[in-house]
């Protein structure tokens, strides 16, 4: 039951085959707490430990987590924790503390963070855009959890959480979207403003407070109280559908207006990834974003998109180091990362014009 096993498992739900042209993955998160216990941020160390063990004991008994992974952050190496963050299995906040743990299902679709900001953060993560199916899984997990542990709940305020921004449903539904068309067209500010005004948050690749490298954004609901789960999901679904349409419009317009210049841009990114000797994380992500776009438009075979998605993960700093087998400084990582990209792209064909 280790991070190594998770890495060895090719079934990485956020990246494995099944991601779509615009929506990389769908995520449902539910914040839950044990009744009668202080929240992790206010509990004393022994209380936190007691809460963690109680939650873990209940979770490993659930059928969903049979033969799954139990990872206590205090016992994991720094690099292994960072790998979990890069795979979106735990948050930066959980990984940086000592009191937290993660229980992860065998197929890595379901995970529960224990002692993050709340006692329990349930997460279901699936590749592509599958809001309904992802929600159904989360609902089942929530029911199973409520049957196993007494949860803090109020008739008036719903599920009680440490932070007022999560109280009520405790639901954060999100889509990880790849928006190179809107970014290249310079429309991202406008899009972000429109989404913000209608109650949706737009964040970077690794969630709260992170940068949007590789034109990848996470779009999620902000309100959790006074709205039923169904309405929250419908609202997000409406906007994601709209966003996917806008993104495709932007892509088509770019391909049409810029013609050969546009293809040249994608081909140049391919050239850099194929031949560079040093690649920073953000440079690699931005170039891979172009490659992904090339696959979506038929400039490269669409079947290669999954490989590009895998490289987006493999190019992350902790992944580069863990695959290398030892910690590397920034220059060492850039060297290794470039080697990984060169090797992986060896078998790729040339970038051609978009298919009609």
């Amino acid at each position: 039951m280790s991070v190594q096993e998770i890495l060895a498992d090719d079934q990485d739900p956020a990246r494995a085959s099944g991601a779509q042209a615009v929506v990389l993955s769908t995520r449902i998160r539910l914040a839950r707490n044990l009744a009668g216990h202080p929240f992790p941020g206010w509990a004393k160390a022994p209380q936190r430990q007691e809460i963690a063990e109680r939650c873990i004991a209940a979770l490993v008994d659930l059928p969903r987590f049979r033969r799954g992974h139990v990872l206590r952050m205090a016992q994991e190496a720094d690099l292994d924790r960072a790998v979990l963050v890069e795979r979106h299995l735990v948050s930066k906040e959980l990984a940086s503390g000592q009191a937290g743990a993660a229980v992860i299902s065998r197929d890595q679709t379901c995970s529960v963070m224990v002692n993050e900001e709340d006692h329990l953060r349930l997460q279901v993560l699936r590749p592509g855009w599958h809001l309904r199916g992802t929600w159904n899984l989360a609902e089942q997990l929530d029911d199973a959890l409520a049957a196993a542990l007494p949860l803090a709940f109020s008739e008036r305020l719903g599920y009680l959480t440490a932070c007022p921004t999560n109280v009520g449903t405790g639901l954060r539904a999100s889509a990880m979207v790849h928006l190179p068309g809107l970014c290249l067209a310079g429309q991202m500010d406008k899009v972000t403003r429109a989404l913000n005004q209608d109650g949706l948050a737009v964040r970077g690749w690794l969630g709260e407070g992170t940068e949007a490298a590789g034109n990848i954004y996470q779009v999620s609901n902000q309100q959790t109280l006074g709205l039923a789960e169904e309405d929250i999901l419908k609202h997000l679904g409406f906007w994601i559908k709209h966003l996917v349409e806008q993104e495709w419009n932007a892509r088509r317009k770019l391909a049409l207006d810029e013609g050969e210049k546009f293809v040249d841009r994608l081909a140049r990114s391919f050239g850099v990834l194929r031949h560079a000797r040093l690649l920073s994380s953000s440079e690699a992500m931005n170039m891979l974003s172009h490659l992904r776009l090339a696959c979506d438009l038929g400039c490269l075979p669409e079947a290669l998109r999954d490989q590009v998605d895998r490289l987006l993960i493999e190019g992350q700093p902790a992944h580069v180091q863990v695959r290398h087998g030892s910690p590397l400084d920034s220059d060492g990582r850039d060297l290794r990362r470039a080697a990984v990209m060169r090797e992986a792209l060896r078998a790729f064909p040339e970038v051609g014009p978009p298919s009609a």
Partner: protein, 160 residues
């Protein structure tokens, strides 16, 4: 006297010790490096944090009887101490809640065995809408179903 001083803000060992003399009165603050850094107190010229600590306005007005968390703690951390804090601070938090949430009443899921009022109200509103739609469409079978559901929900919502 060998015991190290505790940080005035958290439980860490204090390594930064501030003394401030105002009008002949000496106040001392002991901070760990992390807390001192946050308040800019590592720069001896900046005593904002000490001011904040000594300010009478910082006196706690509400305390959670269950976990000892106070409104001052909330102002500092932006997070509550325990589920029971919602009882203690719920009223005081309402204006803040309305800034981040559309309404201060839960209408979503509940653990098995509980039926939150908000959820019942939500279902009642939905049933009334369904009734109106059914009547407009002259679907009297559906209208009868909705009418029964409304009656049941109204009964459940009536105070005992």
């Amino acid at each position: 006297m060998s015991q190290p001083l505790q940080c005035s803000l958290c439980a860490e060992v204090a390594t930064v010790h501030l003394s401030q003399v105002v009008g002949g009165k000496v106040t001392k603050v002991h901070l760990c490096e992390a807390c001192a850094g946050k308040g800019g107190a590592v720069d001896p010229a900046v005593f904002q944090l000490a001011d904040a600590l000594q300010a009478p306005a910082a006196a706690a007005e509400l305390t959670c009887p269950r976990c000892g968390f106070t409104d001052v703690d909330f102002r500092k951390r932006g997070r509550l101490g325990c589920p029971a804090c919602w009882e203690t601070f719920g009223g005081a938090l309402s204006p803040l809640l309305l800034k981040v949430q559309p309404e201060v009443a839960h209408v979503g899921r509940a653990p098995a065995g509980t039926a939150p009022l908000g959820q019942l109200r939500h279902r009642l509103a939905a049933a009334r809408a369904a009734l109106a739609t059914a009547i407009a469409a002259e679907d009297y079978e559906q209208a009868a179903k909705s009418r029964d559901e409304i009656a049941a929900l109204e009964a459940a919502l009536k105070p005992a």
